[in-house]
Point group: C2
Chain length 323, copies 2
């Protein structure tokens, strides 16, 4: 592999950088005009751990890795602005496939309104990997720690599709062909909720997190960081209809996909009632459905009510209990 | 490997973040207060490619990877401020060795005046790797493209030590034990020239680059980016005395280490004569020796004069010629 030629080929794929990029790729550093608060995040993916060549094309890998990184900026209420991509390439990967990864990187950068301002390309004898760092502008950061008793608990979009899509890609086919195709696409092309995240921050959401490890995990992170209890209704968790169809066909509870599946990259958050009313009004404007699934209480932990029963929901599962 | 526990152990190693870090590690993103121009750079290293376990301890790996990333900020005339570290760990690495990498990361962050504000830890079936992204403040960025005919060509410190040290680590022992120890230390602990880079930018240096791939490579990058010819005197290139001793013992030309060895992380730059005079005055204040090695001319390419002969110096070697 000729590293210089490869880098040139990768850079040629990129959309032109925004006007706020003073020195673009090609020098020691990119120079960007800050002038405000910036959110910084890094997300790494490894072939065989986070994706497989037989379940994802190179552009899909690139797009998806970018979406995962940018989703963290969205979960802070920020707007992604500048991104760097480190890429390690094993000898077994043909150069055109490596370059094709950047078709997805490039498409994602344009779709998310961000400039790829740098990176590194190295060789490795191990699996291919990417490490993506995103820097975003954020006026009022929304952390996981601000949920307060009385707040409404909400999620964006619908859940479970990515994990169901991955099950299908790994060979567990069931249900209609159309539902399967929808779920596979959902797995390959998550949509970070950037515009909604910005609005949630502007309007006064108190906590916000993106759903990368499953709703159960993120709810526990908010409850812990905020020092509160989160109570939600199992039947109100918005589940993608195709997930329900697929889960029934394979004999699973659709809710399992939403709670423990992960990688949906929707947002979960909390807001006072009046703020939530404004979020409901703005949601259609930014093309992001939201659903109230519960409320914030004093206490700790995450509790689900379903079929009249209460369960403590931990990161890895739940246990019924009486109270 | 328990990823959560590992991350906690890594974060516990870090010095407290600076006052400009509004949200530190632990949420979706770090939030930093920009308010000015920022330099962004990413640098990746892979075990077996950029370092080996038998030539470098885990803390040394961490320190060195940080130094390499931060050196790019120094070469822009910036001050490193915020750093993220992505780390992929194979099952063969004991957890305490992985955590020990962060002893070096932490030491470097403190030494360089930067806060580690985020990162990612993932598992891999391949070799260990790290990807480091550094964001720095930079008031007046100094690129490679500003060298002008008549400017003085200069380098900081002395060259060749890192490559000679690596040769020794790889088993080619020669010369005195003290010289060998000095060179090995030079390989393992490069010093990014942050303070000098800032002064060079402030006082008006016209081009600046850090020496990661050998002086020959960096000179060609400046000549190309600036559209000029660089003429330098081979005998004026500052070579570490231990390199001269070692090179003679192994029957090599010491200059080869300086020109083609790389990873010294010194700076090479250009400046008008009056600016260079001011750089000479400020160099001892920031503890960084500088040496004029030549000048910028109209034309293209890199030319070395040595023993009364001229050579064209390419990235990978040089050829004598007459003019």
């Amino acid at each position: 592999m000729d590293e210089f030629a490869l880098i040139q080929a990768l850079v040629a794929k990129l959309p032109p950088p925004g006007a706020d990029v003073m020195v673009p790729i090609g020098d020691d550093c990119a120079v960007v005009d800050g002038g405000g608060r910036l959110a910084v995040t890094t997300d790494a993916v490894v072939e065989g751990v986070h994706f497989r060549r037989d379940t994802m094309s190179p552009p899909q890998m690139g797009y998806r890795a970018m979406a995962a990184a940018v989703s963290d900026i969205a979960a802070m209420g920020g707007q992604p602005a500048w991104i760097t991509v480190a890429l390690a390439v094993p000898p077994s990967w043909p150069q055109e496939d490596v370059v094709a990864i950047y078709d997805g990187v490039s498409e994602a950068a344009a779709a998310f309104g961000a400039s790829v301002v740098g990176g590194d390309v190295v060789s490795t004898q191990g699996p291919l990997w990417m490490s993506i760092t995103a820097v975003g502008r954020v006026e009022r950061p929304v952390t996981r720690a601000g949920a307060r008793p009385g707040d409404v608990l909400f999620v964006t979009g619908s859940l479970g599709g990515s994990a169901a899509g991955l099950d299908i890609l790994l060979g567990r086919r069931a249900g209609s062909a159309i539902a399967q195709a929808v779920l596979v696409e959902r797995h390959r092309r998550p949509t970070p909720r950037i515009a909604f995240g910005r609005e949630a921050a502007r309007l006064g959401a108190t906590a916000l997190d993106d759903i990368s490890d499953g709703l159960a995990s993120e709810l526990n992170e908010i409850a812990e960081a905020s020092g509160v209890r989160l109570l939600f209704e199992g039947d109100r968790v918005p589940i993608q209809p195709e997930v329900t169809e697929y889960a029934r066909a394979v004999g699973k509870d659709p809710l399992e996909y939403a709670l423990f599946g992960g990688e949906d990259y929707e947002l979960v958050g909390t807001a006072p009632r009046d703020v939530f009313a404004r979020l409901l009004a703005v949601a259609p404007v930014v093309g992001t459905p939201i659903t109230a699934i519960g409320r914030v209480e004093e206490g700790d932990g995450v509790v689900m009510r379903r079929d009249g029963k209460l369960s403590v929901v931990a990161r890895g599962g739940y246990n019924h209990f009486e109270r």
